[in-house]
Symmetry: C2
């Protein structure tokens, strides 16, 4: 099912935003993982909305990407 056809879960919103911000920086999952101090497979699982990530790790991802953590959980306009 196309995610855009229904309300995405918060995990899915985070996954979309994370991948978008990472790609904008031309970082690999490994690059981001190294910045955050997490494993590449962990970042991959968050980007696939498979992982029930914690608030502390959401904060770390925001810091690494230079955005406010809440921005990672906000659905992009028009998406």
């Amino acid at each position: 099912m196309d995610v855009s056809a229904r309300n995405p879960s918060l995990r899915e919103i985070l996954a979309t935003n994370l991948r978008k911000l990472r790609n904008e920086r031309r970082w690999s999952q490994e690059d981001l993982a190294a910045e955050v101090g997490l494993h590449r497979t962990y970042v991959g699982s968050v980007e696939r909305a498979e992982r029930n990530i914690s608030v502390d790790n959401i904060e770390r991802l925001g810091v690494a990407l230079g955005v406010e953590p809440w921005q990672l959980l906000r659905r992009a306009q028009g998406s």
Copy 2:
């Protein structure tokens, strides 16, 4: 140390917002816990910034309180 004197952690921002929204609704921790399907002591620990809550439970809290989940993680202006 006064939290307002430094940058609060994301846990602390969530704790402050959660308590504020719950009090505005005149809900006890037990009321909110029942809405969300969590235990009262869990809600208490989140409001004391003791718990590394997951994204799925942040989503549940937002739904119960009628706000977008990202709003729970955004620092209130002037606070």
